[in-house]
């Protein structure tokens, strides 16, 4: 038995070696084409879910499953994120010890800007998410950074998203090799299989989008981040994009990265860019 498995492994390894050695010859080197990727990505979901309007993809499983949508509409009559939204407004408006506030750190004083995050910062050469920008703002003003994923960070996110509702995702990828590399890195993370279950992000949220995984309906990847942060009934609380990435990684039994790890930021950059045109709908609710 062991010998047989061993030989299968050897055969697989040989095949992989053959494949990789053939690959560079078959294509003339990788071409990074975000705009082309985006067209193909959006077209895939339009074909998979005919009749679902682009903006509706922000509503994840509720866009593609009627029964779920009905429960969601009932929950949205008085959404459970209301408390976080109010906390977020209060936190956002509260001045720092030096008298400045979040509004001083952001364009348009932080109102109606969610759709432009993450962006690629040409000075530092990295992807800056809204949450990272929030903490950098705090540090510039002599405040301690907030923990990512939950609590105050999610509340501030919720408020900032709420002021941006209806504004389509507008992620730019500047013509800069570093920005293209970040995009490509995020794309790679999205399609790469990982963990004991050997799933990629795409296994669930592209290939099996709209289908049931036990009790859950898998959300389509298109528009997925437009309703963040979210109140998940499963969490019983709010969570940011980081919290979702960490928990997704854990669910496929892979070791999650730290929140705001460069790979997560690149992933958020890729996913948000794929959703350009989908209107911000956050904060949202999910099962």
């Amino acid at each position: 038995m062991i010998g047989r498995i061993g030989s299968i492994y050897r055969a697989a390894a040989a095949a992989a070696l053959l494949f990789t050695s053939l690959l560079p010859a078959a294509s003339a080197g990788p071409r990074i084409d975000p705009a082309g990727d985006q067209r193909a990505f959006q077209a895939y979901f339009e074909r998979a879910f005919p009749g679902v309007a682009l903006d509706d993809f922000a509503n994840g499983p509720y866009a593609v499953n009627k029964e779920m949508r009905k429960q969601w509409e009932e929950i949205m009559q008085f959404p459970p994120y209301d408390f976080a939204l109010d906390d977020g407004k209060r936190l956002f408006e509260a001045p720092f010890k030096n008298g400045k506030s979040y509004a001083d750190c952001f364009p348009d004083r932080g109102i109606g800007i969610r759709q432009s995050y993450p962006y690629f910062d040409l000075r530092s050469g990295e992807v800056v998410t809204l949450d990272l920008a929030i903490n950098r703002c705090r540090e510039q003003n002599g405040e301690k950074p907030l923990p990512y994923e939950v609590g105050d960070m999610a509340a501030i996110d919720a408020y900032m998203a709420s002021t941006s509702r209806g504004k389509p995702f507008d992620i730019r990828i500047p013509d800069d090799p570093r920005a293209l590399a970040a995009y490509e890195n995020g794309k790679k993370f999205f399609y790469e299989r990982r963990g004991q279950l050997n799933f990629s992000c795409a296994s669930c949220h592209v290939q099996a989008a709209g289908r049931r995984m036990r009790g859950d309906i898998l959300a389509p990847a298109l528009g997925m981040l437009a309703s963040f942060p979210i109140y998940r009934s499963d969490w019983g609380s709010m969570g940011t994009v980081d919290r979702r990435f960490v928990s997704c990684n854990e669910q496929v039994r892979s070791l999650p990265l730290k929140p705001e790890d460069e790979a997560y930021r690149d992933l958020e950059y890729f996913l948000s860019y794929m959703s350009n045109g989908v209107a911000i709908a956050g904060p949202g609710t999910r099962p």
Binding site: P61, E67, M68, K70, Q71, W72, E74, I75, P80, R212, M213, R214, G215, D216, I217, L218, R232, S233, D234, W235, G236, S247, C248, Q251, P287
Partner: protein
């Protein structure tokens, strides 16, 4: 049904000060509540007390007996709106409405939960016989609603499937 509410300590907690503040204009009843003398449910005239015994029952017959001391008959005039499959057992939207007259209470029971009675609502005259809430379900179960109309109990039930989430279960 009219068993005493669990005892309330005489201490004036922060919560009670809030009550005092908010009901400051509400007269003596409110003051009595605020001072911790009377539980707020009793402050309103003739308000029935929390049915402790009914909430402790582990099957439908005992819960109904403790709550109403009566039995139930099925009625197509009671309509219950629940999902076929709960998106999450922690938050199952339940809506009840009825065309029966003189409805004084509506209760929701979940026989497969550790305690059968989930919620019981008292409807004074003038309140419409309809209520929506969100309940927890430990596993797949019937949701049983009971409407008390002109002193009699009428019921309806529907099954709600509860599955573990694929993402987080």
């Amino acid at each position: 049904m009219s068993r005493a509410v669990s005892s309330v300590s005489g201490e004036v907690s922060a919560g009670r000060r809030l009550v005092l503040h908010a009901l400051g204009l509400g007269g003596m009843a409110a003051l009595a509540v605020a001072a911790g003398l009377v539980p707020p449910a009793r402050a309103a005239e003739e308000a029935p007390a929390w049915p402790k015994n009914a909430f402790a029952q582990k099957d439908q017959a005992h819960a109904l007996d403790a709550l109403y001391g009566k039995t139930l008959e099925a009625s197509d005039k009671v309509s219950l709106d629940v999902p076929e499959i709960a998106e999450n057992g922690a938050v199952v939207p339940v809506s009840v409405t009825t065309s029966l007259p003189n409805v004084t209470s509506i209760s929701v029971l979940i026989p497969e939960n550790p305690y059968t009675l989930a919620a019981s609502y008292r409807l004074p005259e003038g309140t419409e016989p309809s209520v929506s809430c969100r309940l927890k379900m430990a596993k797949t179960s019937d949701v049983v609603v009971v409407v008390e109309s002109a002193g009699k109990l009428y019921g309806a039930k529907k099954q709600v499937k509860v599955t573990l989430g694929g993402c987080g279960g």
